[in-house]
């Protein structure tokens, strides 16, 4: 299925862009997280996922659907 990945903070530098559409072959958020931590140059950066603007708890694994917008969020640094 096709999803949109949005990058924030340091991940923008590492991934080289803010947003990209990507074909993925996983069923849920945990599988996606697993795959990203292995295949990407981002394995050393801690981050959380949000799917369609909703933050995903580290313990839960959410089913992914075609067209989902998935945000990768490193630790916040506001203020």
């Amino acid at each position: 299925m096709k999803v949109t990945l949005k990058y924030f903070g340091q991940l923008v530098d590492v991934m080289g862009n803010h947003e990209e559409t990507q074909e993925i072959d996983v069923k849920n958020s945990n599988e996606l997280l697993e795959q990203m931590k292995q295949n990407n140059p981002i394995s050393h950066i801690p981050f959380q996922l949000a799917i369609n603007d909703v933050l995903i708890d580290q313990e839960e694994s959410k089913k992914l659907n075609d067209g989902d917008v998935i945000a990768l969020l490193p630790p916040y640094a506001g203020g």
């Binding site: 924030f8 530098d13 949000a50 933050l55 945000a71 969020l73 916040y76 640094a77 506001g78 203020g79």
Partner: protein
């Protein structure tokens, strides 16, 4: 949904006007204001010239709404305002403005401190510290 994000620095005029707007609310006896100002920190001999703020606005607004609701439950407040800059904020400029008003002074201090911490901990905002030589590093909250 109240507007929190401001493009560019938060001017002292804007802060003054926010204060002035509260003068019709004569049940208020105490205001407390927190301002975050961009600091010219030095890292390995390089000086920070500005911070460029970005955020994940949809999620940030949801979180800020939650924080507001919780604050009104936790503290006996009359008014509360939160503003945060986006874009490039130079050293010396204000990027974060928390404004709390109550009948009596007792509650306002803890409410302000709580709000500042919640916004920092729960809102997806990012800061890129830009040095005078145009290199940068990503801000990490302590």
């Amino acid at each position: 949904m109240k507007k929190v994000f401001i493009s560019g620095p938060i001017s002292s005029d804007f802060i003054g006007e926010s204060i002035a707007k509260h003068q019709t609310k004569t049940s208020i006896g105490a205001h407390n204001i927190f301002l975050g100002q961009v600091r010219a920190d030095e890292v390995d001999g390089k000086k920070v010239a500005a911070i460029e703020y970005t955020c994940y606005e949809e999620l940030a607004n949801t979180k800020l709404h939650e924080i507001r609701e919780e604050a009104f439950e936790k503290f006996d407040l009359i008014c509360m305002h939160i503003y945060h800059s986006l874009g490039t904020i130079k050293t010396g400029e204000v990027c974060f403005f928390v404004f709390v008003s109550a009948k009596r002074r007792k509650e306002v201090y803890a409410a302000t401190e709580w709000l500042v911490n919640q916004v920092k901990d729960r809102t997806p905002i990012y800061g890129k510290e830009i040095f005078e030589d145009e290199t940068h590093q990503w801000k990490v909250n302590s």
